[in-house]
């Protein structure tokens, strides 16, 4: 089975620094990582490959430096890496991104074989929209299974897949026909450590690199900033708030604590009084 995994290189949000003077994000020197949610997708893809045979192709769209993330994916054991890079893609929002990735996925299917399962992470940690996966599914006409927590069964003969999906208030057991797009939930597995041979292959592998034309994209107006209706109006660092947490002595009892709260929030007291009188 040939499985595709879409992933994104993102700034390591744990190490982002805000410039102490200008309050803007200091991008220089901030390490980049594979979007952590995408690693759950990648591991799930590798497990399916190990079980059913076949190949895993990872795809990313980004600047040339996104190559680092693809090589990293190869060290985990992915078989092939495709970098979609072109200055026409710069400034893409989720609509333009799903458009470009869909084109590349079609090209991957044509070049390297059909992909009955396409994985993405739940969302990215820099955009947090969770829109790109469903966007791809819609464009490519794939059944979409979002927030998947477990893959219960893949029936290759019957061309069906059964998964558990986390939903509000419980877990859904869903079955659908292949091909599908799955967005994988966090904490569902743990990314493996590739072998030394995997690491060596990753370091010396030649990556597939496509520009827009290579990926068969004709309509450049749907790419990058031009193809992105989203407008960033303003970026700002939230102001530190003056309130601070305060420890109240337990010995003083609940009454003292309530008094303390009501001093700060008189409206709450009034509301509670209304509630009490209504009983």
């Amino acid at each position: 089975m040939h499985i595709a995994v879409c992933m994104k290189q993102v700034p390591d949000s744990a190490q982002i620094r805000v410039h102490p003077v200008t309050n803007t994000i200091m991008r220089q020197g901030v390490p980049t990582i594979i979007n952590p949610y995408d690693l759950f997708a990648l591991e799930e893809a590798l497990r399916l490959r190990d079980k059913f045979g076949g190949e895993v192709t990872v795809l990313t769209m980004g600047p040339p430096m996104a190559e680092d993330s693809l090589r990293k994916a190869l060290t985990f054991g992915a078989d092939r890496a495709v970098l979609l890079t072109d200055r026409f893609f710069a400034g893409s929002d989720t609509l333009a991104t799903s458009f470009a990735l869909s084109a590349a996925l079609e090209k991957i299917a044509a070049e390297f074989g059909e992909t009955p399962i396409v994985f993405t992470g739940k969302q990215t940690i820099d955009g947090d929209t969770a829109q790109v996966g469903p966007g791809i599914a819609k464009r490519l006409g794939l059944n979409q299974l979002t927030y998947v927590s477990r893959i219960a069964e893949v029936d290759q003969a019957g061309q069906t897949i059964t998964v558990e999906r986390r939903a509000e208030g419980g877990v859904q057991l869903l079955q659908t026909r292949l091909p599908v797009l799955i967005t994988m939930l966090e904490g569902t597995n743990e990314i493996r450590r590739g072998s030394l041979a995997d690491a060596y292959r990753a370091a010396s592998a030649k990556l597939v690199s496509w520009n827009a034309a290579d990926a068969g994209i004709v309509d450049l107006a749907k790419c990058g900033l031009r193809g992105s209706p989203t407008i960033v109006k303003k970026v700002f660092a939230p102001q530190a708030r003056a309130e601070a947490a305060r420890m109240l002595a337990v010995e003083d009892g609940a009454e003292a604590v309530m008094t303390e709260i009501f001093v700060r929030q008189p409206a709450l007291e009034a509301e509670l009084m209304r509630f009490a009188s209504g009983q």
Binding site: G29, P31, T75, G194, L196, A197, A199, Y200, A203
Partner: protein, 435 residues
């Protein structure tokens, strides 16, 4: 397992490992470099001053694209007491030359750049790969390494151990002793961010000029150690370090010393308004010449901190690391051209080349300094700084006392605290160790 056999495997991607791997790749060797960190530089800590000469001999045009912070135009040597410092400053316009000799750098960024050069030269670098043991053949010669990855075996004609101060691979293999508390210092440092203009105004700098402060005195509470403050482009590196055995003996803590140093009246105003964004700690080899272990054997050799190549007196380390790495790389390539095997007998050429270089000459010159510091530490890092500061205080105060009386007061303060023979003895011992 990696099927291919390499000319050399380099363990570590710090200054010495990169220098060695780069040199060998440029001379046409097939090199595999293994680094345990997530990326080169993620585990590497230094003050940090880059000495241009050592790097120039490896990458002559490094100034074109290496991430350099500031070139140093002023050196301040401070002897400090709890409330004062006596300083010797040297500042020269001549340091604003086309090819400056010293720069401040940020290792995390510098090492990334260096590693990129290494890979561009043709070295295959594998990160997050820890070498766990050396592989040997029946006659005991090293033939490769085992790593912590699955099927993690790789083979080479020679293994270069560039694994740093506390290199566990060489220690486990019995190639050298475990580092002792007496032979290593523990240094801690912080990076404090300040706007470029503030740094330039505060330190009287223009453009990319930088200042270095090296300090000793009561700031180390009588322990053998030094402190520093370096100006980067938009930050200040400030740190302090002492021998681990001294920390053990006194119960002092590194962070306690650093906190006190940062709050010293001579330092505090230089850091005012800054924001600490990073802290780090590292061991520094301080044993000098006498602590240098066996440097080569059948199928292996040692470079950099793992070989104790640090000149503690002159605060030089990364240049010795790069130079030993380069010389090792050149030697290995030379053996390959001659079709000589990497046997201990043939690798003795590495030792010969080191002995002929400034590396061994300098370390040999100061071979008795570590002992001297051990024995005289309490006076050097406590008594003398206090006496010097007190003398300066007496000398510069105008209070109606005649100058001859002041002179004799200063001399008395010295002889009272340390007998004349003690003073002469210290001077003699220092001169002998320095010689």
């Amino acid at each position: 397992m990696i099927e291919e056999k390499f000319d050399a495997i380099v363990v570590g991607a710090g200054a010495s490992g990169n220098a060695c791997a780069y040199t060998m790749a440029k001379l046409g060797l097939k090199v595999l470099q293994l680094e345990r960190g997530e990326y080169p530089g993620s585990k590497n800590v230094q003050g940090a001053i880059l000495y241009a000469d050592a790097l120039e001999k490896i990458i002559p045009d490094f100034r074109d694209d290496a991430p350099l912070e500031r070139h140093i135009v002023e050196q301040r040597q401070w002897t400090m007491t709890d409330s004062a410092h006596v300083g010797m400053h040297f500042r020269s316009e001549e340091f604003n030359e086309d090819r400056p000799n010293r720069y401040t750098i940020v290792r995390a960024q510098f090492d990334k750049w260096f590693s990129r050069k290494v890979r561009e030269a043709g070295v295959t670098l594998l990160c997050e790969t820890t070498v766990t043991e050396l592989l040997r053949n029946n006659s005991g010669a090293v033939i490769g390494v085992r790593t912590d990855r699955a099927d993690g075996v790789a083979f080479a004609n020679i293994v270069v151990l560039a694994e740093g101060v506390n290199g566990l691979v060489g220690q486990r293999a019995g190639l050298r002793d475990v580092v002792t508390p007496e032979s290593v210092a523990l240094a801690v440092k912080e990076m404090h961010f300040l706007p470029r203009e503030v740094i330039e105004e505060r330190f009287n700098l223009k453009g990319n000029e930088g200042v270095v402060i090296e300090a000793m005195g009561t700031i180390t509470k009588g322990m053998t150690g030094t402190a520093f403050l370096y100006t980067n482009a938009e930050s200040i590196s400030v740190g302090i370090g002492c021998l681990v055995s001294d920390f053990q003996g006194t119960g002092q803590t590194p962070y306690g010393l650093l906190e006190a140093f940062k709050n010293h009246p001579s330092i505090k105003s230089l850091l005012a308004g800054s924001e600490c964004k990073e802290y780090a700690a590292h061991l520094i080899p301080e044993g000098g010449y006498k602590a240098i272990p066996q440097l080569y054997g059948d199928g292996w050799l040692v470079v950099g901190d793992a070989g104790q190549f640090v000149n503690a007196v002159h605060r030089e380390g990364s240049n010795l690391a790069m130079t030993t790495g380069r010389i090792a790389g050149e030697t290995i390539a030379w053996l390959k051209v001659r079709r000589d095997a990497a046997t201990a007998a043939n690798l003795s050429e590495y030792q010969r080349r080191l002995d002929a270089s400034f590396v061994m000459k300098d370390l040999k010159k100061y071979k008795n300094i570590p002992d001297f510091l051990h024995k005289s530490g309490a006076h050097l890092f406590g008594l003398y700084p206090r006496l010097i500061a007190q003398a300066a205080q007496t000398w510069f105060r105008v209070d109606g006392k005649d100058k001859r009386a002041k002179e004799s007061e200063i001399i008395k303060s010295f002889t009272r605290s340390r007998s004349l023979s003690g003073l002469l003895g210290d001077a003699f011992k220092l001169a002998r160790a320095w010689r």
